[in-house]
């Protein structure tokens, strides 16, 4: 490489580019080329969605793109609090779908939402046990058994606060062997057989298929998690973003969500 001083700005720019690329954002906010019909939707959007929406939103994004050929939907899945932190710090998102109202409130309080969030799904807790149910779990009360290795979410995360609410309402003291930071970590401990039982969402049990067995319990109604979705203010394709929100809240979206185990809002 020549050591001419001219190459310096280039190298510095490369460094800055590397800095810019280290973020998780995968958005390309540039608008795509307009399609033939002027009235059709066109544009690229990036949807930030809670990790529990991975399967459903991947499917919904594909059918949305099929319905509106001029659009492209990029998806970013992570914990709701991670996502809201990234958006508040300036990540280029066009739509945010949260797994709880608390994190959505953080976004609306930062005045980043375009209009009011729409509730589009609900989720409740379910007991997940390894296939064959080795510890013989039957209901919520049996989770407190002395030899049961129970794994739950930590109270700091949404699934954990739901766990606390359910346990309090049932009047049962749980003594888990681990309090995980995410529901996927709880599920992982159950599918691997490390834990005898875990408290996860109904949709996680559905998605895990044969890897776990689910045990529903009445007390789960004490903590119903509501999923809100909203388009963001600074979106470069505001109409596409709003159309995607309407699509998720509409019949097509609801059918997919219901099939995955989500409840009606």
């Amino acid at each position: 490489m020549p050591s001419s001083p001219r190459s310096l700005p280039f190298l510095a720019a490369t460094g800055l580019l590397a800095l810019a690329l280290t973020g998780c954002a995968s958005a390309t906010p540039a608008a795509s080329t307009p399609t033939a019909a002027v009235t059709t939707l066109a544009g690229d959007i990036t949807v930030y969605a809670a990790a529990s929406l991975k399967t459903t939103f991947t499917e919904l994004a594909a059918s949305f793109e099929a319905e509106h050929p001029g659009t492209s939907v990029a998806l970013n899945f992570a914990g709701s609090s991670d996502l809201v932190t990234q958006i508040v710090e300036g990540a280029p998102a066009d739509v945010f779908a949260s797994a709880d109202t608390k994190n959505m409130t953080k976004l609306t309080e930062a005045a980043l939402a375009e209009g009011d969030p729409v509730d589009f799904a609900t989720n409740v807790l379910e007991i997940a046990v390894p296939p064959g149910n080795p510890a013989g779990i039957t209901d919520f009360a049996s989770l407190a058994g002395p030899d049961v290795k129970l794994v739950v979410c930590a109270p700091e995360v949404p699934c954990g606060s739901a766990t606390v609410a359910v346990a309090t309402a049932a009047g049962i003291t749980l003594s888990p062997v681990s309090e995980e930071s995410s529901v996927t970590d709880v599920l992982g401990k159950v599918t691997s057989g490390e834990a005898d039982a875990g408290l996860v969402y109904v949709t996680d049990v559905t998605a895990a298929g044969d890897a776990v067995e689910g045990i529903e319990f009445d007390e789960s109604a004490e903590a119903v998690n509501t999923y809100p979705i909203v388009a963001l203010k600074d979106s470069a394709s505001a109409d596409v973003a709003q159309a995607f929100v309407d699509f998720v809240a509409g019949q097509a979206g609801q059918d997919v969500l219901r099939a995955a185990g989500f409840g009606a809002p």
């Binding site: 888990p176 681990s178 309090e179 995980e180 057989g193 490390e194």
Partner: protein, 272 residues
């Protein structure tokens, strides 16, 4: 700029400029974090019950992991540096694999080894040892990721020091164990120490394998990095304050390693 000891400083200006960009890349994030610390609440934040429990657990498990690294790492480095056998190169790469393996992968591998349904899980269960969700699991995860650091630095030192003194000792009638105890180990002691410090640092920072393999429970398995990860969900101030604590501990450790490592290099140069 000060000239280097041998009187030649041939670093072109543009290299310095690029190096400065690289240094800024490493230092700016640290600075950005320090700027976010809530200093008014700093002491209460880091002295909360859960923070102290996490810090103590981290120190305790990292020390145990470091001891295991020394116990197993020193013989491993000796075998790699002083013996010659078929497949040694492959073995060395495999042993050092945890260095480059994503910690989550390490955690999964450990789960399938020491987990309840793992390769050795049944054996341990028969012996009455429960590893799942115990502090032992944390130490195992930390040892797994930290061991290569000790093996790598010690093996390098052993090769640099050479085996001349050992050969002389052996011809004078010393048994292999005597040679090891009286000649080899004293020669490479600084490298053992710096390797141990590096292992300790790596164990202290262990996150992925612990999360995957050991779980997370205050006082039992929730080490400082796991506590930071969890607090970030609800209490970013605590997470940032604890991160700073971890950074300070890391800086102290790195400077310690630098100091203990230096004499070995100097002596190695004299000997070779």
């Amino acid at each position: 700029m000060r000239p280097s000891p041998n009187g030649y400083s041939g670093v072109p200006r543009w290299v310095l400029a690029v190096a400065a960009v690289g240094a800024a890349f490493v230092l700016l994030p640290l600075l950005a974090m320090v700027l976010r610390v809530n200093w008014a609440e700093f002491v209460p934040l880091i002295s909360s019950e859960s923070s102290v429990a996490a810090l103590l657990l981290s120190l305790r498990t990292s020390l145990a992991a470091t001891a295991l690294c020394v116990i197993f790492g020193v013989p491993m480095a000796l075998v790699l540096a002083r013996t010659d056998f078929w497949g040694q190169k492959v073995l060395r790469s495999l042993v050092l694999l945890p260095l480059v393996l994503p910690p989550v992968v390490g955690g999964i591998a450990l789960l399938y080894t020491f987990g309840r349904r793992g390769l050795l899980g049944q054996t341990f269960e028969l012996l009455g040892i429960e590893i799942a969700f115990s502090t032992t699991a944390v130490v195992i995860a930390q040892t797994f990721v930290a061991l290569p650091f000790l093996v790598l630095s010690l093996e390098g030192a052993l090769r640099t020091v050479g085996s001349r003194y050992e050969a002389v000792g052996a011809t004078l009638g010393a048994s292999p164990t005597t040679v090891l105890r009286r000649i080899t180990l004293p020669l490479v002691l600084p490298a053992v120490l710096s390797g141990a410090v590096l292992s300790f640092a790596r164990a202290l920072g262990e996150f992925g394998a612990t999360l995957t393999f050991a779980g997370s429970l205050q006082g039992t398995t929730r080490t400082l990095p796991l506590e930071i990860y969890l607090q970030r969900e609800t209490d970013p101030d605590t997470a940032v304050a604890l991160s700073l604590v971890l950074v300070v501990v890391a800086i102290v450790i790195v400077s310690l390693a630098h100091r203990t490592g230096a004499p070995s290099r100097r002596r190695a140069r004299v000997l070779s």
